[in-house]
């Protein structure tokens, strides 16, 4: 027992926990992407650099993009997810097929999803461009700085909506049918039923969905990377900044970057995620108790 337990724990510790805790340690050093270069402690220098005038513009931009991305993708994911779950909970013909379709992007992954939507939003002759041209308009889509982040949010919602729908469906199915029957006898309209039966009893699913959604959205950047590249200012997210600072954004140019600074960005992001997640959790728990 000890041997197998120790083996499992060792792999998890060495390759999972050590890098995670190491980020905090490394963020106080000037470690670089090459072996053999001496590493020295620099104290809070990396964090000072993060807030220094030279970097602050970029970093605030990434911070703002991260918050916009996280808030809007979570709101749309929850709103649309709830709406779709309610409809797919009705006795519709073929609803299992519909559920499967909505959940499918979960397996497609960022590369395939990214390519599908790059094709769709292809400025020269994609379906979206054709629809616009009917109205005499045109757009560069992902190439348009004002639009790029919105489109990445759209694709993110498309890709993760199924998870919200599944969680809401589970919540909906746990609501006893008697409650609807009783409220119908009392003369409640469907709208009132939703307001006074469905919505309060969905509170636990709502908590799970909002928390998962916001934590995931604050940290995910893979779609932005695939759709718009690592160095696009309009879709620069904090995680993407870690990648470009640490590895130069182009594979193979990882040699001279200061990775200690990138690790400091990781810590800033971790702090941000922690504060937002715990704040959201506290609020949602209170809300659950109130409902």
């Amino acid at each position: 027992m000890r041997a197998s337990f120790g083996l499992g724990l060792a792999i998890l510790t060495v390759f999972g926990l050590v890098p995670a805790i190491g980020v905090a340690v490394v963020s106080f050093t000037d470690i670089r992407g090459l072996p053999g270069i001496p590493v020295s402690w620099v104290g809070l220098e990396n964090f000072e650099a993060f807030f220094s005038r030279a970097h602050l513009g970029d970093n605030l931009n990434a911070l703002r993009n991260t918050l916009v991305f996280a808030i809007f993708s979570t709101v749309f994911q929850i709103g649309l997810g709830l709406l779709i779950a309610i409809v797919l909970n009705k006795q519709l013909k073929g609803r299992n097929f519909y559920r499967s379709v909505v959940f499918m992007p979960t397996v497609l992954g960022v590369t395939v999803t990214g390519l599908i939507w790059t094709l769709f939003f292809n400025p020269s002759g994609g379906p979206a461009a054709s629809i616009l041209s009917v109205f005499g308009a045109r757009s560069a889509f992902f190439g348009d700085p004002a639009l790029a982040l919105k489109l990445v949010i759209f694709v993110q919602v498309w890709a993760t909506l199924g998870i919200s729908v599944i969680i809401f469906l589970a919540g909906l199915q746990s609501i006893p049918a008697e409650l609807y029957e009783v409220s119908a006898i009392d003369g409640a309209s469907p709208r009132q039923q939703f307001r006074h039966v469905t919505f309060p009893l969905l509170a636990p699913s709502m908590t799970a969905n909002v928390l998962l959604g916001i934590v995931n959205a604050l940290q995910s950047y893979q779609l932005a990377y695939v759709l718009t590249g690592p160095i696009n200012k309009s879709t620069q997210l904090l995680s993407l900044l870690i990648y470009t600072q640490g590895f130069g954004g182009v594979p193979g140019t990882s040699i001279s970057q200061t990775q200690g600074y990138a690790a400091a960005i990781s810590m800033v992001q971790f702090f941000l995620v922690g504060v937002i997640a715990l704040g959201t959790l506290a609020y949602l728990r209170k809300r659950e108790a109130r409902l």
Partner: protein, 298 residues
């Protein structure tokens, strides 16, 4: 918290069930008030299926046809696009890499979930109850891209298949937590009976617990396998050597090279997406179970 959680857990089975078996019993056509629902569903289906259909349509177009008619239905399907994309993109070797990483990584990850989850659920090792919070902590670790790179660099595992497999294997996600929850549902009497018969721990674990836990272990494996199969950032950072790249990276690089040959690019995307869509049909119920389990406990 626990009270609310159990409500969701209990319904988990029924979601899976309705996701796989049809329950439609009503013989008559839709009631008038359901028409709105059907219209809504039709719009949702369009949003999810049209992009895939459009991808397939584009994959069959030649460059000339795409230039003249980028959106319309294909007139002269070029089935050769698939063979050409397969060959030019070198997808054969990328797929082998991806299969290796996914099977090895998710296999090791599932092993970790098993050998940690079971004794911790039982409290068999002294102090192991203390490890339960660890299963939650692994879900909320900071972005460790820099240190993952540094660790492999210093261990001499940078740009090696082994190093990448170790990294993705340690990305266990909700696996240990899910299995921990499942292991509690296995009756303790079974452990005692086996101990009475003198069956060793290892033999007990692999000949009794593993067969009993097949659905749970499959779920743990699938969740991690889907993640590894689609992983691209770690692979970009840890595997600069093209010949070791997984399929995701292969497709991404293919996009860089053939970015204006949409037919070919779409064909390559279909090559990567088709196995996922086919596998999805079989994996769906396990993924649903895994996501619900993780959502409740995480």
């Amino acid at each position: 918290m626990t009270g609310q959680s159990t409500v969701v857990v209990r319904t988990q089975a029924s979601v899976v069930e309705t996701a796989t078996t049809s329950r439609a019993r009503r013989p008559s056509g839709p009631r008038p008030r359901q028409i709105g629902s059907y219209v809504f569903v039709a719009i949702v289906m369009l949003a999810f299926l049209f992009p895939l259909a459009f991808l397939m349509n584009t994959a069959l177009k030649s460059n000339a046809e795409f230039a003249g008619n980028p959106v319309g239905l294909v007139h002269h399907p070029q089935w050769g696009n698939f063979a050409e994309a397969w060959q030019k993109g070198n997808f054969g070797s990328y797929i082998l890499n991806s299969i290796l990483y996914t099977v090895a990584g998710a296999g090791i990850g599932t092993f970790i979930a098993l050998v940690l989850g079971f004794p911790v659920a039982r409290g068999y090792l002294r102090g192991s109850r203390w490890l339960m919070p660890l299963f939650v902590v692994v879900l909320f670790l900071p972005n460790a891209l820099i240190t993952q790179f540094q660790l492999l660099l210093r261990l001499g595992l940078y740009d090696t298949r082994l190093g990448y497999v170790c990294m993705v294997a340690a990305g266990v996600g909700v696996g240990p937590l899910l299995f921990h929850g499942f292991a509690k549902s296995i009756p303790r009497e079974l452990d005692e009976a086996a101990a009475m018969d003198g069956i060793g721990y290892w033999r007990y674990l692999f000949t009794f617990i593993v067969p009993l836990s097949k659905p749970a272990l499959t779920t743990v494996f699938m969740l991690q396998a889907v993640w590894i199969w689609n992983e691209i950032i770690l692979a970009t950072v840890l595997l600069p050597d093209q010949s070791k790249a997984p399929l995701t990276l292969g497709l991404f690089n293919f996009q860089g090279t053939y970015s204006n040959q949409w037919g070919l690019l779409a064909a390559a995307t279909v090559i990567v997406a088709a196995p996922l869509v086919i596998a999805y049909v079989f994996m769906q119920r396990y993924l649903v179970a895994g996501i619900l389990g993780g959502a409740v406990k995480g």
